[in-house]
């Protein structure tokens, strides 16, 4: 129902090309999410969101001109909440945590109520925002990102493939059944994750990359270099 792409650069020489590479990746998952799209680019934590076809948005944003160290993007086919820029992923919360989600949570209303009771504020009625706020709340409580993602797996029910970035890290996690697609590729120059392999195929050096499917409820985490 949605497309995810995420990229963390290890080779500083690729940084000027970050936006161009993300635009190319997003174009490959546009069918999965033609309603709207969004992206966070680090280290500036520049957040771009809009309603419309992802390829059109990437051009509007002049994404190919943007450089950076890592980025996480989402192309959206809305399930339960409205098609507006505010409902677009990534949900960027706390100290620069960005989360994109493919799937739908089954118990998010209860978790939202629990977080509201603890003083957490929300910007939208989107189920994915609940996951982002949950992670930020756990990080605020002193957990590291890996622990917070494990707790998320314990607490959240439903179907999800999540890509999360913070100023220091990039992580991927899937639910116990793992039926929403995800594929990871790693080379000495970068680590990338996408909903489909074709979005990874646009990356330089993909032919020599280590390509694998993330396991259910396993937290994959890479720290920024």
């Amino acid at each position: 129902m949605c497309g995810i792409t995420a990229l963390q650069l290890r080779d500083p020489g690729l940084r000027p090309r970050l936006g161009a590479l993300m635009a190319a990746m997003m174009a490959q998952v546009a069918e999965r999410g033609p309603d709207s799209a969004g992206i966070t680019i680090y280290p500036e934590i520049a957040v771009l969101k809009g309603v419309g076809h992802p390829a059109v948005l990437a051009t509007e944003w002049r994404l190919h001109e943007i450089s950076g160290t890592q980025a996480v993007a989402h192309t959206r086919m809305a399930t339960e909440s409205a098609i507006t820029a505010a409902h677009c992923h990534p949900f960027v919360v706390g100290d620069g945590l960005s989360l994109v989600h493919n799937g739908s949570f089954a118990n998010h209303a209860t978790i939202r109520r629990e977080l509201l009771a603890r003083g957490v504020a929300f910007d939208s009625d989107n189920d994915s925002e609940v996951a982002a706020r949950f992670l930020a709340y756990r990080l605020d409580s002193g957990d590291d990102l890996e622990k917070a993602l494990r707790l998320l797996c314990e607490r959240f029910d439903g179907f999800y493939t999540l890509a999360v970035q913070t100023p220091d890290a990039f992580a991927v996690v899937r639910d116990v059944i793992a039926c929403k697609p995800a594929i990871i590729a790693e080379t000495p120059g970068w680590v990338a994750m996408a909903s489909e392999y074709r979005a990874l195929a646009v990356l330089p050096g993909i032919e020599a990359a280590r390509v694998y499917e993330p396991e259910p409820e396993e937290v994959y985490l890479w720290t920024s270099t």
Binding site: T79, E80, S104, A106, N107, T110, A117, D157, F159
Partner: protein, 421 residues
């Protein structure tokens, strides 16, 4: 009140007493329906994908919390109201499916202790049969403030059922009507209750959880006070909850429907994340269980339904010696638990009638029933995309009537309208 009921009172000069629960039509869980998954949500595969039912109660305070394999327990029903074989059968059934059963007014029998893996020991206003030895043999303690069939009233056991064993356990004379106290002798308010709960914890060395059971009336405040007083689990029994004997006027004219009570109780516990909620009163099907959990219960309790599974109102003794006809009723309509003449050997102390109930075969039926409604519960949870029945939430439900929408505070089907919101 019907003309017949007026004539009955005119003839007797007193009020009628009976068993069972409220028979009038009130809004129930049947007035709600689930929004199961299609495209915006995904259902879980019933034959391959796990849906958890395990329920842990009282882990915050008790060294040995109550661990249930299913979110359905058997409610308190006394030895006295029920026969010894009936109590044994309920214990066997509960143990077989991994859940708890509960004592009642009059104390704990060795048969039910032995047959029940997890036994909740009630502390009632009467304190009949209550003693420190049985207290320490229990897996949880339930302080009973009230019961859905008669909130504000006390227990009752007619003289016909006060046989030698029951009378001895309660230190009462045989054959004389027992009317239990309606409030505890050593405490009245929540301040005293707090001390009572500490006393019970001390007596059991902080080993087992303490439940507090209330009849559903002023639910929000009562549940909050029970939690504030230190309960690990609050049990809320709605007006459809049954009894072995009480005044008809209590059964039909006190308390609020279970459907309305759940939401109020869940609201009251919003600030007490460690306190669990058990709901009872009219729970019959897996749909009832799933809806109660969705509205905020952690588990449900069943009484009447377990007795029906055991053989209550079975047609085998419609006629013949000691039949429903002798009680002036028929199978399917019998609420004559109070008479002690139960034709199927469940609500009786008569040795001849008790012999009609085989505890082993009865337990099989109750265990089958518990398994079946657990499967129904997980079926609905999976269809809502939940890998754990406790992940059901109010947003999974809509109401079919305006009354149910208002009580359960879920939207009327096809609208976003919640009356009063």
């Amino acid at each position: 009140m019907s003309f017949d009921e007026i004539r009955e009172r005119a003839r007797l000069g007193r009020y009628p007493i009976r068993g069972g629960g409220a028979r009038r039509a009130v809004p129930t869980f049947d007035d709600l329906t689930f929004l199961t998954a299609s495209a915006s949500r995904y259902p879980l595969e019933g034959y391959r994908e796990h849906c958890a039912t395990r329920t842990v109660l009282g882990a915050a305070n008790a060294r040995d919390p109550v661990v249930l394999e299913i979110p359905i327990t058997i409610a308190g029903m006394s030895f006295g109201a029920l026969s010894a074989p009936a109590k044994e059968a309920l214990g066997r059934a509960a143990s077989e499916v991994g859940t708890a059963t509960t004592t009642g007014d009059g104390g704990m029998t060795p048969e039910e202790r032995m047959s029940s893996k997890t036994l909740v020991y009630q502390c009632l206003p009467s304190r009949y049969g209550f003693n420190p030895d049985d207290l320490r043999a229990a897996d949880a303690i339930e302080v009973v403030l009230g019961q859905g069939a008669k909130p504000g009233g006390g227990g009752m056991l007619m003289g016909q059922k006060l046989g030698p064993r029951v009378a001895a356990m309660r230190t009462l004379p045989e054959g004389i009507d027992q009317r239990s106290a309606c409030r505890h002798p050593d405490w009245t308010g929540p301040d005293d209750l707090r001390i009572k709960i500490e006393e019970l914890r001390e007596a059991t060395d902080w080993r087992v959880p303490v439940f507090v059971k209330i009849g559903a009336t002023r639910v929000y405040h009562d549940v909050r006070l029970a939690a504030t007083a230190g309960a690990d689990v609050v049990v809320v029994d709605g007006m459809q909850g049954g009894t072995g004997a009480t005044q008809d006027v209590f059964i039909e004219h006190t308390g609020i429907p279970t459907l309305a009570a759940v939401r109020l109780a869940a609201d009251a516990l919003a600030d007490f994340p460690d306190v669990a909620l058990i709901v009872s009163g009219g729970i019959r099907s897996g749909a009832d269980v799933a809806k109660a959990l969705a509205l905020g219960a952690d588990a449900v309790s069943i009484g009447m339904a377990a007795l029906v599974a055991l053989g209550c109102n079975d047609t085998v003794h419609d006629f013949g010696p000691a039949s429903y006809a002798d009680l002036g009723t028929t199978a399917g309509n019998c609420v004559a638990c109070h008479t002690g003449g139960c034709p199927v050997g469940i609500a009786t102390q008569s040795p001849g009638l008790q012999a009609r109930l085989d505890p082993v075969r009865g337990a099989e039926r109750v265990a089958n029933y518990l398994r079946a409604i657990t499967m129904e519960t997980t079926m609905l949870a999976r269809a809502c995309g939940k890998a754990d029945v406790h992940h059901l939430e109010p947003e999974d439900l809509v109401a079919l009537t305006v009354e149910a929408a208002a009580m359960a505070r879920v939207p009327l089907a096809g609208t976003e309208w919640i009356p009063g919101r």
